[in-house]
Symmetry: C2
Subunit: 308 residues, 2 copies
């Protein structure tokens, strides 16, 4: 491989995962962007091509550019990088489109520099990209994109990410209704204060979910995939949420929820057969609406970004 | 051993454990009550002796009696049991005095009946005893007393208890100032609503604590032993809380908090040497107050109630 150019796959991700609002995330395996990053004599970050979406080429306005510049600011190199982005993840889908670009850019540049930074440091750089996209430097999507598997963002300042194990036979079903849900609106709809009794149930479930991942206990995983806090508000913004949830659960979904702030919804399933059954059942239901959508299944991607 | 009589050790327990309000608990090893339970021809539950504390002998008013009667109600036996209780745990200390009696009674009777009930069922019976003591049928203390180790009460109705692993070298330091903190007051002082931002930090830490237990990661254990919700309110009811906390942390405590609703405080430490150092330092500080206290260290008791 040419040491001056790298091609990578930057995966989509699911943040929150029911009980883990602003904390949990997981990495998808077969849906994501591709990026080509080249070392150049010209200093700085230059985004030369974006295919598939209409996004800014200006490095200071593009999430990949901002993340890459954050990394560059911590180096003393006298050269630069060109970035080509081939978007397969739709911005605003709720499965970490901006995170894939931000994480992909810093991962690729780190490889071309012979890995001066560790994964936690890359996550910090990528978070700067997220700031451009969402207004806050959150790590819910960039952490699973970079670490792979399940992640728990314990704290953002200073950043502390815990890589959690993934049960081997776990599949994710994603249904993405092609409607616009603004992240700002899905934030604004949340209450500033929540009942202590419900919060207690929530942290019981976050602890239980972590235990279920370590022990590959699918029953416990299923019981803990409940969100008492955020979904009751946000689901009103997601078309046909309750109907699709009911169908997924009736078809053996271990749990169901909003992916990030939506509009994508996710179900977790034990095994590919169950995942396909859920996909078929919820697709059939969504066919009856007038809303265009994508629906697909994925294994958990335990390694994150891949070099192609 | 005579099949008609059993002598047991019923351990003290620590509930909440910083970030896990109403959810986490752990079992202590060397402090607890002793109980002798005898099969009798006379039906029902008869508490014949209580040594060490002034507690009601009436089975319907004593936590051990109520728990035992809850168990008996699920059997069809035509005999009964006599219970002698030797209290070493002071009621109102915050280290699960009532839980030890309730859990001990149902454990002992279950043994004498050749174990018709599993540990989860025993926990449910013991919770009925807790109802007499505290007004609510909570499981934070009876669960660790019966399961041993660390426990997570995911849900009380229907009851769901997760037994968590314990890092091998973990010690607990308990300081019990002999003052009265009413559970009702320590409940009343808590806000009914809490900020979503703080709740999010809390469930990040509960998840992280569970991960730390599975991976024996003492650094992560230490970072996650933070309570953003309950301790800030309750510590005002605990004499010299902040001073003792600072001394414990300065002496390498992994974390510090209120045991249950207090007044006992606990520190976690890696290794016996650190635990003794913390015990000595906080004892020295508490000697300067006029408040009588007990201070002791304990390993984690991974098996719970023991047959003597």
């Amino acid at each position: 491989m040419d040491n001056n150019v790298i091609k990578i796959f930057a995966p989509a991700t699911v943040a929150n995962i029911a009980c883990g609002f602003d904390v949990f995330g997981l990495c998808l395996d077969n849906v994501g962007d591709e990026m080509i990053v080249k070392k150049t004599k010209k200093k700085g970050i230059h985004i030369t091509k974006i295919v598939g979406q209409d996004l800014p080429l200006d490095s200071n306005k593009n999430v990949a550019g901002v993340a890459a510049l954050a990394l560059l600011a911590e180096t003393e190199i006298d050269f630069g990088f060109e970035i080509e982005i081939y978007k397969n993840i739709k911005p605003g889908s709720g499965i970490g489109s901006s995170a894939a670009s931000a994480a992909g850019a810093v991962f690729a540049i780190n490889e071309l520099l012979n890995k001066p930074f560790n994964t936690l440091e890359l996550t910090k750089f990528a978070m700067q990209g997220e700031k451009v996209a969402g207004g806050t430097a959150h790590a819910d999507n960039v952490a699973p994109a970079l670490f792979g598997g399940f992640t728990l963002v314990r704290e953002t300042n200073p950043l502390d990410v815990i890589a959690l194990p993934s049960p081997k036979d776990l599949f994710v079903v994603i249904l993405h209704p092609q409607v616009t849900v603004k992240t700002s609106e899905s934030r604004a709809i949340l209450p500033k204060e929540i009942p202590l009794t419900l919060a207690t149930k929530q942290w019981a479930n976050t602890g239980a979910l972590v235990s279920a991942l370590y022990t590959e206990n699918y029953d416990l995983l299923s019981k803990s995939l409940v969100d008492h806090i955020v979904t009751p508000y946000r689901k009103q913004l997601i078309p046909h949420y309750e109907e699709i949830e009911a169908i997924a659960l009736a078809n053996k979904a271990l749990g169901f929820g909003i992916s990030g702030s939506g509009p994508a919804m996710f179900a977790l399933a034990k095994g590919k057969v169950n995942a396909l059954k859920i996909k078929n059942a919820i697709s059939l239901a969504f066919d009856k609406t007038t809303i265009p959508y994508n629906c697909f299944i994925s294994e958990i991607n335990t390694t994150g970004i891949k070099i192609l």
